[in-house]
Amino acid sequence: MKSAEVVKPYQRVSRPANVLLHLFFILFSLACILPILLIVAISFSNEQALTLSGYKFWPDQIDLSAYRFMLTDSSTLIKAYGVTLTVTIVGSVLAVLLIALYAYPIYRKDFPFKNLFSFYLLVTMLFSGGLVPFYLLYINYLDLRDSLIALILPGLSNAFYIFITRTFFQQTIPEEMIESGKLDGASEWRIFFQLVLPISLPVLATVGLFTTLMYWNDWFNSMLFINDTDKFSLQYVMIQMIRQAEFFKNQLAGTGVGLMVQEAVPTESLRMAMVVLSIGPILFVYPFFQKYFTKGLTVGAIKG
């Protein structure tokens, strides 16, 4: 940033007000970030110290045993990462492609079924059949229990992203360009893949990032459709762990086994380490893409 930014008269804030303003935002930022850091701190804590003095923002004793444990006994974690990565990558690539493929025809002014297919989307934004029929259809008629398809397919019908993409096409791709492509003898597919898609990278990136995040963070479909432990996603393993630790403690309390389990497995820190590993990629990556996220949000909110 240039240091010599011109401050216009209406932008001027008095010095005490400015100090207050920054003080407020520093406190607010801390409120946003400290709870996340608490999780990180617990994951690096010594299990014994945790049981003695509870969760703290600064561990009494820094201990990597939770992470070490995950490295030695990592089959669950690696499987879960595998499921989440597969679903996220396949899902997002498919979603972006399908969104663009639907948005393009309904952007074309000469397409006679344009309004019909826009309306087809709009209806899904107004009325939803809800959870029960959706669930019964997937389980009883499509037989998708314990199938990764059940984790991908539900994310592929987002009318909102299609409308955002279509709006982008309308604002950036002039019809004449398509016409001239046709005059040059290019096929519809060629026009779509070689003319339309390259220009649309910004909106495709926005939509792609949103869908990536949605798939990465999804737990609901696992809750509905997955029983097979080999197909547990990261998020679903975390759901299991927050319940199971309680289960262990209640079931085994007082017995020698309970003590042994506690001894051997750093339950408390381990769970939090798992959470850290699940949010790590997001928190690491998102500041780089913040521009796209905010752009996408504003298109959706203000122009929608």
Partner: protein, 326 residues
């Protein structure tokens, strides 16, 4: 605008024989077959994910047994609804759903706009971007992760609040997961933490869209900073606020399932203050296997939700044609 309102398809003159219309249709299908092919896969996915379930809501009128299958089961008339509304559950989940959503919506609006106005006054661009980056961070965490964060504060033995803060006020060993009264506050705080930052970034975009000349002219006339905010920023922001709020009002019959299910750890002791329609339907369907009750609640949610969306949209349309959904 972004979302089309469906225009009526132009009607062909009635004098034209229907055969001609049919031929035009066929010709269009052939001519635009590639474009039609492009949108077919997605159209089919919408059929599966959205349209078939829409018709599926009518199983609420069936008495489903697994011998006859879902479609073959006998009709039950309004029995499922009679059972649902005979319990106090229906009333409780309705009140909770609407109550939480309305409070979230209104307080979220005020806080988001307040923060947006404040951050607009931060002059150092880089610092402002930095604050924004931190502010929207919670929104990128899934509700499962959020449930862990709340748990880290409220764990009955080790939680930060329970172990280190509440004892200072004389409360030892509080198990928050047993105290239903506390949860409206806990859930509100959690929801605000998760969503206020991103909300203010949206409103900030609207503020930066306000013409600079307005402010310059007002300063010329000797207006104070406070007056700039109350007489220019807020009035110009009002239409956006009103429209977004009305459109969100259409969704108040649907809740943030993760917030009410995971953050509360689905604790039975908290149901009175945390059970909403979505958790009720889920529990009926997956845990209790009570298809009659859950499908009735599901039907209730879908239908009332539909009328709310339509109503909200009509309101938005009256205020400003361009911003309405259709």
């Amino acid at each position: 605008m972004g979302i089309p309102y469906a225009k009526k398809l132009p009607r062909e003159p009635s004098t034209q024989p229907s055969q001609g219309r049919f031929r035009t249709l066929l010709r269009n299908i052939v001519r635009y077959r590639v474009l039609l092919l492009m949108l077919t896969p997605t159209a089919l996915i919408f059929l599966i994910n959205c349209y078939i379930p829409m018709f599926g809501i009518f199983i609420a009128f069936k008495n489903v047994n697994y011998v006859d299958g879902i479609l073959g089961s006998p009709w039950a008339g309004l029995d499922n609804f009679r059972f649902l509304f005979a319990t106090s559950d229906a009333w409780r989940v309705t009140v909770n759903t609407i109550g939480y959503n309305v409070v979230f919506l209104l307080t979220g609006l005020v806080i988001s706009v307040g923060i947006a106005i404040a951050i607009n006054e931060v002059r150092a661009k880089l610092t402002s971007k930095f604050y924004q980056t931190i502010m929207i961070m919670p929104n990128f965490l899934s509700m499962v992760v959020v449930s862990y964060i709340v748990y880290a504060f409220l764990h009955p033995e080790y939680g930060f609040l329970v172990k280190h803060v509440l004892p200072l006020f004389g409360y030892e060993g509080v198990n928050a997961y047993m105290h239903a009264d506390a949860w409206p506050y806990i859930l509100w705080l959690t929801k605000m933490w998760h969503s206020v930052g991103i909300g203010s970034v949206i409103y900030l975009a609207a503020i930066t869209g306000i013409s600079e000349e307005l402010y310059e002219a007002a300063v010329m006339d000797g207006a104070s900073k406070w007056r700039l905010i109350t007489q220019i920023t807020i009035p110009l922001l009002t239409p956006v606020m009103v429209i977004l709020t009305i459109l969100n009002l259409g969704g108040i019959f649907r809740s943030d399932f993760g917030l009410f299910y995971h953050v509360t750890l689905d604790s039975g002791a908290l149901r009175s203050t945390t059970d909403v329609i979505d958790t009720y339907v889920y529990r009926g369907l997956i845990q209790l296997n009570d298809l009659g009750m859950s499908s009735a609640a599901n039907f209730y949610q879908s239908v009332v939700g539909f009328f709310l969306v339509i109503g909200a949209n009509m309101l938005a349309r009256r205020l400003n044609r361009d911003t309405a959904l259709f």
